[in-house]
């Protein structure tokens, strides 16, 4: 890469931009009390800075050992998260949140591999591991594993690109859900529930969940409601709408009183109509924070936030 220095610099700039963007998401979530996946955003910040340091050694702020520990922690964290979600029933094939954790598990493992596999000769100094991307005498351990990781990451990139149109569709759907439910005059400060006119109202109340449309998406029913769009667990959902997912939008199991869980209880008439953007597609997953909302009647937070 020393013969084409503009390329690593360009890539380093892209990595820094990604890190800044992810840091901005964390800051916005804290300032505007929005839910976000802190574990993913933190991972993206760390990964962006680390990769910028790989491309341009002058940008590396920390010793190699620190990065290795960081990505080892990330690997363990997402491995645990994936295991928890798989045990909870969100299968990889279902497009549930487990596949998203798996993707980040692969990312962290790949970063850990790159740090451990790239070892410069001793004459380059102890901190030359991160500086060995310039190809000056670097030795790569287990290069076949690099090929495996490369194929996995390329496949992940292509898979995400395929789902872009679905995310855009669901984003419009979330907007329709939220806005369509406010045709009438509502008191200031009130929250706007989503109508369950898409056919899931009474059945949803009995079963305790609202089912998103099937493969047809429920299009053409002409009702604003969960049945008219596809709703996904909340990966990036609060910034770009929600992802498309054919699976049921489920409320977690709740007691009769909503106090313990932070959701409307079974007897609460708001439960069937409650599908605000933060709640739709919710699955509790590690690293997620729930939003608190001011109760329209009580004027205070009625649902606890959980980390």
């Amino acid at each position: 890469m020393g013969q084409s220095s503009w390329l690593p610099r360009t890539l380093a700039a892209v990595m820094i931009a990604i890190a800044v963007y992810s840091a901005g998401r964390l800051a916005a979530a804290r300032l505007w009390r929005r839910a976000t996946h802190q574990d993913e955003d933190i991972t993206h910040v760390v990964m962006g800075v680390a990769m910028a340091g790989m491309f341009v050694p002058a940008l590396n702020p920390l010793p190699d050992g620190v990065w290795e520990i960081a990505f080892a922690i990330g690997t363990v964290w997402f491995a645990w998260g994936t295991r928890q979600l798989l045990r909870a029933g969100g299968g990889l094939r279902e497009g549930g949140y487990a596949d998203h954790h798996m993707a980040h598990l692969i990312h962290n493992t790949a970063m850990l591999y790159m740090l451990l596999a790239l070892r410069a000769p001793a004459s380059h100094g102890p901190a030359a591991g991160m500086a060995s991307m310039d190809g000056m005498g670097a030795m790569v351990r287990f290069p076949a594993l690099a090929l495996v990781f490369a194929l996995l990451l390329l496949g992940n990139a292509v898979w995400d690109a395929d789902r872009l149109t679905a995310m855009a569709a669901a984003g419009h759907g979330v907007a329709a859900l939220a806005v369509a439910a406010a045709p009438g005059r509502v008191p200031a400060g009130a929250l706007i529930p989503v109508t369950a006119a898409g056919g899931g109202g009474r059945r949803a109340r009995r079963r305790g969940h609202t089912r998103a449309g099937g493969r047809g998406g429920g299009a053409g029913r002409g009702a604003a409601g969960p049945a008219s769009c596809r709703l996904l667990p909340d990966r990036d959902g609060y910034q770009h709408g929600v992802h498309a997912d054919t699976h049921a939008v489920e409320f977690p199991a709740v007691a009769d009183s909503g106090h313990e869980t932070g959701h409307p209880g079974r007897g609460d008439p708001r439960r069937a109509a409650w599908a605000g953007p933060e709640e739709v597609g919710h699955r509790r997953c590690p690293g997620q924070r729930w939003l608190t909302r001011p109760h329209p009647a009580r004027g205070r937070s009625s649902f606890r936030s959980r980390g």
């Binding site: 907007a175 400060g189 008219s228």
Partner: protein, 374 residues
């Protein structure tokens, strides 16, 4: 969309109500409470509802064809990543291209030499353009709204690279070998783009993905031509020498990791002084694969599975994953693509006939039930 526009207009004509408070979701900047008029709220809701409904109705989870398209996109993306290697931004890339002109007729070789000269003297710009094009093709295939345009562009690009970058795969120069990548990996990209072309689901469908755009028999003909040509190339004079395969495989060990170099030396040792019988055996295997597509479904599946195994064996032992571990590879070579192509011919399971149905039609050899009109 017309309904959405009319809905928007009708709602916009509603008399504005006193201000209401609502949430707007969907974009990062809009997550705040804002005061909007009731008419505006309703108008926006009607428009977004229409758009959401239409978009949601269009999007489907990927089926087999779409999964194969995504695999093709991943291979193009790997191509782009390999093109961004530092080696490609040097004059050596131009020299590599110039080397493909040897043995070809002048009408083929002269443009190759001309192109290689340009690349050699403007290596950074030209390689950046090549890599960007391949990256755009990959992302274009992966993103659904542009899949057709990207597949069409990939066909044109593949044909150009097959000429200017691979010298038509060495087919006319007599140096082609199935183990080394004949008839040129990039032409298989073009073939895959044709066979995975998105078609309307309303048309009668073949039981395998590759048969849907062109029909069952044209797709089988393409299979026959491809694998039959590989069998023919395997027994050409240049490939029948006693040490031909041995020398080719042993030369690949340079620059490879230790375990792969050991595999190369072991394979070369097996082929030492056995070039002729090895070539004949390879030709027989390839001919069986070619003909097997015309067998009934069980036989066709065996032939396709055999094709996948042979392709992957060639990719590993004969091509060393396309040489991607040496730092100077431009693509993963043909083995991986042949396996992907074989996957496109895998016949789907046919559903069981209904009990009240008439006498069942005879099973279509290699393709399940006969589609109407074919």
């Amino acid at each position: 969309m017309g309904a959405a526009v009319s809905g928007f207009r009708s709602a916009a004509r509603a008399r504005a109500a006193p201000a209401a408070v609502g949430w707007r979701a969907g974009s990062f900047a809009d997550w705040r409470p804002l005061a909007v008029s009731e008419g505006t709220v309703a108008a926006r809701a009607a428009w977004r509802q229409s758009v959401a409904g239409e978009a949601a109705a269009r999007w489907q989870p990927p089926d087999r064809r779409r999964l194969l398209q995504l695999a093709l996109a991943a291979v193009w993306l790997l191509d782009a990543v390999l093109q961004y290697q530092s080696y490609m931004f040097t004059q050596m890339f131009g020299w590599m291209l110039a080397g493909t002109a040897g043995g070809n007729p002048a009408v083929i070789a002269d443009p190759i030499t001309w192109n290689a000269h340009i690349v050699e003297h403007h290596s950074v710009v030209t390689n950046a353009v090549f890599a960007a094009i391949q990256l755009a093709l990959a992302l274009g295939i992966a993103w659904r709204p542009t899949v057709q345009a990207a597949l069409a562009a990939s066909i044109a690009w593949s044909l150009g690279v097959w000429w200017f970058g691979e010298g038509l795969g060495g087919v006319l120069s007599g140096t082609a070998d199935p183990v080394s990548g004949a008839p040129g990996a990039v032409i298989i990209y073009a073939l895959l783009a044709v066979l995975l072309w998105p078609v309307s689901d309303g048309k009668p469908q073949a039981s395998f993905v590759a048969g849907r755009p062109l029909g069952v028999w044209p797709a089988r003909a393409a299979w026959l031509v491809l694998w039959g040509s590989l069998a023919w190339i395997a027994v050409q004079a240049a490939n029948r020498t006693a040490q031909g395969l041995h020398d080719m495989i042993s030369a690949m060990a340079a620059g490879e990791p230790g375990w792969l170099a050991a595999l190369d030396r072991g394979t070369a040792g097996l082929l030492a002084h056995r070039g002729l019988p090895a070539s004949i055996a390879l030709a027989v295997v390839l001919a069986v694969i070619a003909a097997g597509i015309c067998l009934p479904v069980p036989g066709a599946r065996c032939a396709i599975a055999f094709a996948v195994i042979v392709s992957l064996a060639i990719w590993v032992a004969g091509q060393n994953f396309g040489g991607v571990l040496t730092g100077s590879a431009t693509d993963p070579n043909s083995g991986l693509l042949l396996a992907l192509l074989a996957a496109a011919y895998w016949p789907a399971r046919t559903p069981a006939p209904a009990p009240a149905a008439a006498a069942p039609a005879p099973a279509e050899p290699g393709g399940g039930q006969r589609p109407p009109g074919s």
